[in-house]
Symmetry: C2
Subunit: 407 residues, 2 copies
């Protein structure tokens, strides 16, 4: 590997970085010097505001104020407050997103909720809606949780390849669970078009935004999505295992019937009465006491989005992945890798997946040379491009290092 | 209020503190000077090891090692590792407790799991076991979640006052959910006796340990408890909203069938295969990606238990609450407060609840004078005694301040 990148692509990268309006946002993150970090689609980098905030939460809010912080430090309202900060990043109005629990737990709420909403709205006398259609290439937990939600609500899971979804919809469809971006291939699915198709079939559309939120515009309200979930530790940089979120469309909020009606979702939690009365709005998606340390770290992490335009993020993401693919083409001997991620912009998320023989070992070597991506069995290298802190020189160096290893 | 406590009770308190073998453990906590903190039954104090550990997790494990920390920093195995550290505090062998999610979410797993276990074991041809008996005075979330679990498994919730439980058990009972210590009154229920009665009726016993774990011996394995849950932010001092835990008895682990089969509970999570195959052991109770910041803060907090004998904790707890009641009797004008907590040691947890007119305002005044307890609607003052960092002088000052306010 040439230590001083003076080739055409390196010069192009430098020019692209110099012209990049988002380039200065890298200063909002604490990233180790000299590391090319292309795994922000798995665990986002540490935003610079987080360490100080966490220290204050632990030492002062917990250590000194103790129990008083539930009111005085705003702990109690954190789940809906932070939901409102995520909302503009995924195109939702305030009051529609609540933060807390893991993605899997929120999926369970969303899918049971969708099954119950479908049960309410189906016309009497018409055939029953008994099917839950699930993206057959989904991240595994979505499939496992869908099976449990279906088992507990009397639905049947029907796995469907995303491209076959329109043809699989019918009057038997109760709800559909899709991933906005496929975790393995990086393929972006057509959220507006598929949501419309699901609605045309009289069913509910539930979207998993784990691999799209923070990487590209989502437009939950605009496209009429019914329910959605997502994690906050990938492109939103909330920290390892940071709490996930649940979106419930305005029109469904009054009828949303959670399978996890914990006391935090009660209309009057501190009345501590035996009868459950659900709160209005996003709060209805809460369950138990929120994990404050993780939650307030996430809140601080969202400062990194101050003033950021998601359209600009998307433009840079596509430019980065285009440029990375061009560099791979130039540096990696022909036939050594196969691009799994679609080349069409409309079908590409913010990662590039390359299929190669001996992928696990190749990724180990890349990491050893300071280029961090990840490996997904059996043969996929994943490179995530997070526009807030990854630049074009990073893309060039990653491809050049890969070329060296494969050369 | 006399500023220099020189009375008999103050002298007694000083002598008791001087003789207290656990008194030196207060140095394991960062507590504000001059504060009497009697709300550790709601949010435990900050253990001194936590701030440094959290700083390291954020800055080095997340910020520098990034994604590599899932392996290199032991993040992935934290839920079962920390479960094994809680285990001896509640009388469980290793491999039976897993940490993660909120108490409410774990209750849902435990109750649906119990309903399914009851369904497996009931004799064919015998009457169906259709009832889920629930402590009628339970913390509200237990009742709400029990109702949801029953609804989704075909059971019927039957609320039962704890003293009526033995008579309510029948061949219709599938499972019973009880609180080890009542959150409002501080009453300790007879876990060994009630568990035996539940078993004699052929049903499963599920216990909520939120208000007993860390305050007194529990003996989960010894007494044959079937399933249990608890939080870690009260007597275990794990921090605000720290993850809860789930206990599954050894004999039930192979058949435990979780309603939340997230990918973290899969036998091969990184195979990322569509079919769900549950892991063996406590890991089967995991769901999604664990909230690492909250979880590792809890792990550090458990250092405070190093070398602590729970029998000694229990002895001090009873001595503290006895002494507090004696001080209340001496300082508070007769008829102004009524003791709700049982006087019999066998029926007392580690808190004292006093009923009084104008309880909310009385607690506000106490807090204003540096004595923190809490208020539970409509008329209860709660004072939690956490033997690791509360002393006899604290108890004396709290009672004396209360006497002043009520005088």
């Amino acid at each position: 590997m040439s230590e001083t990148p003076t080739g055409d692509l390196a010069l192009r990268a430098a020019a692209l970085d110099a012209a990049d309006g988002l380039g200065k946002l890298r200063d909002r993150f604490d990233l180790p010097e000299g590391l090319v970090y292309l795994d922000g689609n798995s665990l986002g980098a540490l935003p610079a505001t987080v360490p100080g905030r966490v220290t204050d939460v632990v030492a002062r809010e917990w250590g000194e104020l103790l129990i008083r912080s539930w009111d005085e430090s705003g702990w109690w309202t954190a789940p809906e407050r932070i939901g409102d900060r995520i909302a503009p990043l995924v195109g939702a109005a305030p009051g529609r997103i609540v933060v807390g629990d893991s993605t899997s737990v929120n999926l369970f709420k969303a899918l049971v909720g969708a099954a119950r909403l479908a049960g309410r709205t189906q016309q009497r006398g018409s055939g029953e809606r008994t099917e839950l259609l699930v993206d057959a290439t989904t991240f595994p937990t979505d499939g496992y949780i869908a099976a449990s939600a279906a088992r507990m609500t009397g639905l049947t899971v029907v796995p469907v390849a995303p491209e076959d979804l329109p043809g699989a919809l019918s009057t038997r469809t109760a709800a559909v669970l899709m991933n906005h971006v496929d975790y393995r291939t990086g393929r972006l699915h057509d959220l507006p078009g598929l949501t419309a198709a699901v609605h045309a079939a009289g069913a509910l559309a539930v979207w998993d935004l784990c691999h799209s939120a923070g990487a590209l515009p989502v437009g939950l309200d605009e496209h009429g999505v019914d329910l959605a979930v997502g994690c906050t530790y990938k492109y939103l940089n909330g920290g390892p295992g940071a709490p996930a979120y649940l979106y419930v469309a305005d029109r469904h909020q009054a009828d949303f019937d959670s399978p996890l009606p914990g006391w935090n979702s009660h209309a009057e939690p501190f009345a501590m009465i035996p009868g459950y009365v659900p709160a209005d709005g996003a709060v209805r998606g809460r369950v138990g006491t929120p994990d404050i340390l993780s939650m307030l770290a996430l809140e601080a992490a969202l400062d990194a989005w101050e003033g950021v335009d998601m359209a600009e993020v998307r433009a840079k993401s596509l430019a980065l992945t285009d440029f990375f693919l061009e560099c791979v083409d130039a540096y990696v001997p022909r036939g050594r890798v196969e691009t799994v991620t679609p080349l069409a912009h409309a079908e590409r998320g913010s990662q590039v997946s390359l299929r190669t023989a001996n992928a696990a070992d190749t990724m180990k070597q890349l990491i050893g040379r300071g280029v961090i991506g990840d490996f997904r069995a059996p043969d996929v290298l994943r490179f995530g491009f997070t526009p807030l802190y990854v630049g074009f020189a990073d893309a060039e160096r990653a491809a050049r290092t890969l070329g060296d290893i494969c050369g």
